[in-house]
Symmetry: C2
Subunit: 367 residues, 2 copies
């Protein structure tokens, strides 16, 4: 492999000049620049990325540490993050923690050793020390969907506004005529989002002067053995609510299965809506009303935040709050429906509100 010295010798210049040409910094006359470039081409010289990295201490690498890359939400965020990275000629390291804080810590330590240039972190908690170590080493950390750790104002964050999402959804249900609305959330749902979604639910009720009934709030737990049965027992209400709102993906799935098991039809017997838009929500019968997380936006903004901080390390920590959007489909047909809403709903149904960009559709086309 040709080195910068070979290039320099052949071009009859110094290595410094070659380096300047390669990096396009410093002053180099047109004439020598051309000569150097010819020399590079002739020798088929390629700068050694590793040597460069070592010398400059920039790895051109960002890591994303997520609890699970297979969830639709983070899958899309990662896809976008990788695209943004590519735009900047950066590379994205994928670290899946499986919701295991030990693995998370292990990854964070590893990433610090490797001196990645930044970390996107969807923490499961307990990594305060590792996060501090990272920032202390000058590695920017951006939290994904977790609020800023109150302890330090050192890290940026981008979060989805769970409160807004829950409130919008419940307000929609109320507007459409529901009065008795149940909410199910997963026991293991992140504390912050649990609180926020519950707050959204309550505020929506209050705004319409509806009573808040704790009886209608249920925690579900999807476990391997007990499976659906568990959720099923936990989700028996009497009298039956007219609408059921699942505050998360897992709960949504469990709830769907539970309703099927109870022989309840959607939306005839009960209306159903869930947090976390799913690509297939449009395709099944009935199409699901969901709160769509701006996953793509989240991935992009998080990445941009890293680059912004790399460009200016003094900037104050920032928390970007993204608004989810309500996707109205058939699963929430209203008990009483007014004409404007009907039209709107009808239209949505026809437009089929395909979540995704062409890219995602293309995605389906592969194996």
């Amino acid at each position: 492999m040709a080195t910068i010295r070979d290039v320099a010798k052949r071009a009859g210049v110094s290595v410094a000049t070659v380096s300047r040409v390669i990096n396009d910094n410093g002053k180099v006359s047109d004439k020598t620049s051309r000569r150097v470039k010819r020399s590079i081409a002739a020798l088929g010289f390629e700068p050694d990325f590793l040597a460069r990295t070592w010398r400059t201490r920039v790895t051109h690498t960002i890591a994303a540490v997520v609890a699970d890359n297979t969830s639709p939400h983070h899958g899309i965020a990662l896809r976008e993050a990788s695209a943004v990275a590519l735009e900047h000629n950066y590379t994205l390291i994928l670290c899946t923690t499986y919701f295991d804080s030990q693995i998370e810590k292990q990854y964070l330590r590893m990433l610090r050793e490797r001196r990645v240039d930044g970390v996107l972190l969807n923490t499961v908690g307990q990594s305060e020390n590792e996060i501090r170590a990272l920032t202390k080493s000058g590695i920017p950390v951006v939290l994904l969907n977790r609020p800023l750790a109150n302890q330090g104002r050192l890290v940026d964050a981008v979060v989805v506004d769970s409160y807004r999402g829950a409130r919008d959804l419940v307000e929609h249900l109320i507007r459409v005529g529901h009065r008795r609305i149940a909410m199910a959330y997963d026991q293991a749902l992140n504390e912050f989002h649990k609180r926020e979604r519950l707050r959204g639910y309550k505020d929506a009720l209050r705004a319409s002067n509806l009573p808040y009934n704790p009886e209608l709030i249920r925690a579900t737990r999807l476990s391997h053995d007990s499976g659906i049965e568990c959720a099923q027992n936990q989700l028996v209400f009497s009298p039956r609510p007219t609408a059921l709102f699942a505050a998360g993906y897992g709960t949504g799935l469990a709830t769907l299965a539970m309703l099927r098991a109870q022989g309840l039809r959607i939306p005839t017997d009960i209306c159903f809506a869930m947090f976390d838009d799913v690509t297939w929500g449009d395709f099944i019968d009935p199409p699901l009303t969901t709160v769509r997380n701006p996953a793509q936006e989240l991935g992009r903004q998080a990445m941009e935040l890293v680059f912004a901080r790399l460009a200016d390390r003094k900037r104050p920590a920032q928390e970007i709050r993204l608004a989810p959007s309500l996707v109205v489909r058939r699963s929430c047909g209203a008990p009483k429906i007014d004409e404007t809403l009907r039209a709107q709903s009808e239209q949505t149904q026809i437009a089929l509100t395909m979540d995704p960009s062409d890219a995602v559709i293309a995605a389906w086309q592969g194996l």
Copy 2:
């Protein structure tokens, strides 16, 4: 930051000795080893990963280039690959190409420059040169779900046996009583898998002495604008088949929507089954009969293949063929059903055949 020289000086030994202690190779007496370790601890010395990488030319990094990380299939494969990487103290770079061969090439060039230690590649094609360049640079390439390029026997591969999957599924449909079985595949489905699935379909028919009717094979195309309508038109049959087999994820979704649009009930009016198991297949109504790809296995084997080749570069190229498994659920209730099958199906339904490990279930629990 303390360097190896500082450690050496403090311990009163040479840098070589320190290096030997760190890497636990070469001969070092217990006494000096202890002294060195004390010195390391005292100084808080951490070997510089970058310097090491540069010197040894091993990056401890594998890249996975996939068409789309959000598909359930590759999402799971990636999750597993990242876990295997972690076991080996390796890191996984995620490269999503969006089915764009230009981006794929760009990534492959980038990865070669970065001298990753290996590449998992779910190619969309046209990257022969880049693949060759990689292997020529001594970087092992393992193809994901693509057959070995006939041109060179340089790369390993791990593929899902599409033929087997299709054949098993169609044979199941036949056994259960279906005689008129339609198959839909996506126009953009990878050529190899298209051929294999079709072959499986035909062979299954032939084995039962059923006629092959080209009229029952349809290509669908999910496009953004035309959306479902398109699929809808393309999927009108007369007389109607009793079962419809979607040979892919995208087609599966399109088909589901189409059946709904045509007002057909599953499985009462028509039976439905699809390739590519989906995590939610269990939860919706009716639960879907699917061909489950061993995605996890695929990710693991591919990764192991890389490590195997790193350990022995002379080993002959290998193609690992993984068998998919049939997951029988409700969407294929049989027109005529015999008792054993009924029992089997019932049991499956009760066991709820949760695709995933606890990890995936946990996944659902996060935002």
